[in-house]
Symmetry: C2
Subunit: 182 residues, 2 copies
C-alpha cells in the first residue's frame, strides 16, 4: 500500500503559536489528483491518567470553551517548544494537580484527525501519584480537582460526563493497559 | 462553576462543506476578557467497533493523509447533512466493510478539541456484525479490510499500529463497555 504524494502545500491562515491551517494538492497511488485537501496544524499535547493509592485517580472539573459546558477531564496541556512529551506530562500533572508520580507508562502518540492532522496526543499513566504541593496552572481557568476511585471515574465516563475525545481516549487506553499489565 | 460568556465571534476561514475557522472574544467568570480565542468547526463523524461471531472484529488498513502513513482504523466517516449519528454509523459500516449488525450500542459523543471544538465523534458498538455484501466506500482511498480476534486488535493498538485518536478512543470505550456489560 503506497503513500499519497504531496504535490503542493499552501498556508491559508496562521495564528501563531496555536494554529496554522492550509491546503495541499495530493496524488493518490492510482494517479488521481486531489486539489485543496485541507490540513490543520495545532500544538501537540500530553495527557495523564494518574494512579493513586487505594485504586483512586484524579479528574479536573472545568468549563471548556470547545465543549461549551463544564465537564470532567484528565490533566493535560500543550507541550512547550522543544519539550519532550514525558517532560510535558510531568509538568502538567504537577501544575494542574500538585501531584508527582513514581512510575510513568507511555500509552502512545495519536494523531487527532486522520484527514487534517490537527496535532497529536501523547498519553501516559502516572503510577504512584501523590500530592506534593498546591495546583498552580497559571491558566485563567477556574477548576476543581476530584480524587475518586477508578470505578467511579469509569462510571462518570460512561454517564457522559467526560465530553472530550482526548480524555475518553486516554481513559480507555489506560483501562486496557492496566487490565492487561505491561 | 459558571460558563464563559462569548462577547463576539468572527469567521477567519471558510472551506465549505468541510471546515470553518474563526476567533471569539470571551469573558471569564472572574471578569477577565480573552480576545481572539480560536475556534474550529469540522463535520461530526461516526465510528464503529464491529463485534463479529467468534469474538472477532474488523479493522481497515489504509493510508491516512493526516497521519502521513498507513495505519489501522475502525470504520468511520463524516455524517451527512441532517443525518442521525446512528444512521451514519450504519451507513459507514456497510459502505466501508459490507457488514450489517443486529444490535447497536451507543458509546457517546465526544468533542474532538476541548479548546477549539473541532467537531465531534459519535461512537458505537455494532454487535452481531455479519457480511452482507462488498465494501463500496466511494472514496478514492485504497484500503484493506482485516477480520481478526479482539485480542489481536488490542495487541495492534498497544503496538502503536492505530495512529488515530478516534480509533484509539472508540477501541478503549468499547473495551470498557464490553467488559462491564451494558
Amino acid at each position: 500500500m503506497k503513500p499519497w504524494r504531496i504535490l503542493a502545500k499552501r498556508v491559508l491562515l496562521e495564528r501563531p503559536p496555536w494554529l496554522t491551517v492550509g491546503e495541499q494538492d495530493v496524488e493518490l497511488p492510482d494517479g488521481t489528483v486531489l486539489d485543496g485537501f485541507n490540513w490543520i496544524s495545532t500544538r501537540a499535547f500530553a495527557i495523564v491518567v494518574p494512579v493513586l493509592g487505594g485504586d483512586r485517580t484524579l479528574l479536573v472539573r472545568s468549563f471548556k470553551l470547545g465543549v461549551g459546558a463544564v465537564s470532567l477531564s484528565l490533566p493535560a496541556g500543550y507541550l512547550e517548544d522543544g519539550e519532550e512529551p514525558l517532560a510535558g506530562a510531568k509538568r502538567e500533572l504537577l501544575e494542574e494537580t500538585g501531584h508527582e508520580a513514581t512510575e510513568w507508562i507511555a500509552l502512545g502518540r495519536y494523531v487527532v484527525d486522520g484527514n487534517y492532522g490537527s496535532g497529536a496526543m501523547h498519553a501516559f499513566i502516572a503510577k504512584g501519584a501523590r500530592r506534593v504541593g498546591e495546583p498552580n496552572s497559571g491558566d485563567h481557568e477556574e477548576q476543581e480537582l476530584l480524587t475518586l476511585p477508578f470505578s467511579e471515574a469509569i462510571a462518570k465516563l460512561r454517564a457522559g460526563e467526560m465530553a472530550q475525545l482526548s480524555t475518553a481516549a486516554a481513559r480507555g487506553l489506560a483501562a486496557i493497559a492496566l487490565r492487561e499489565g505491561r
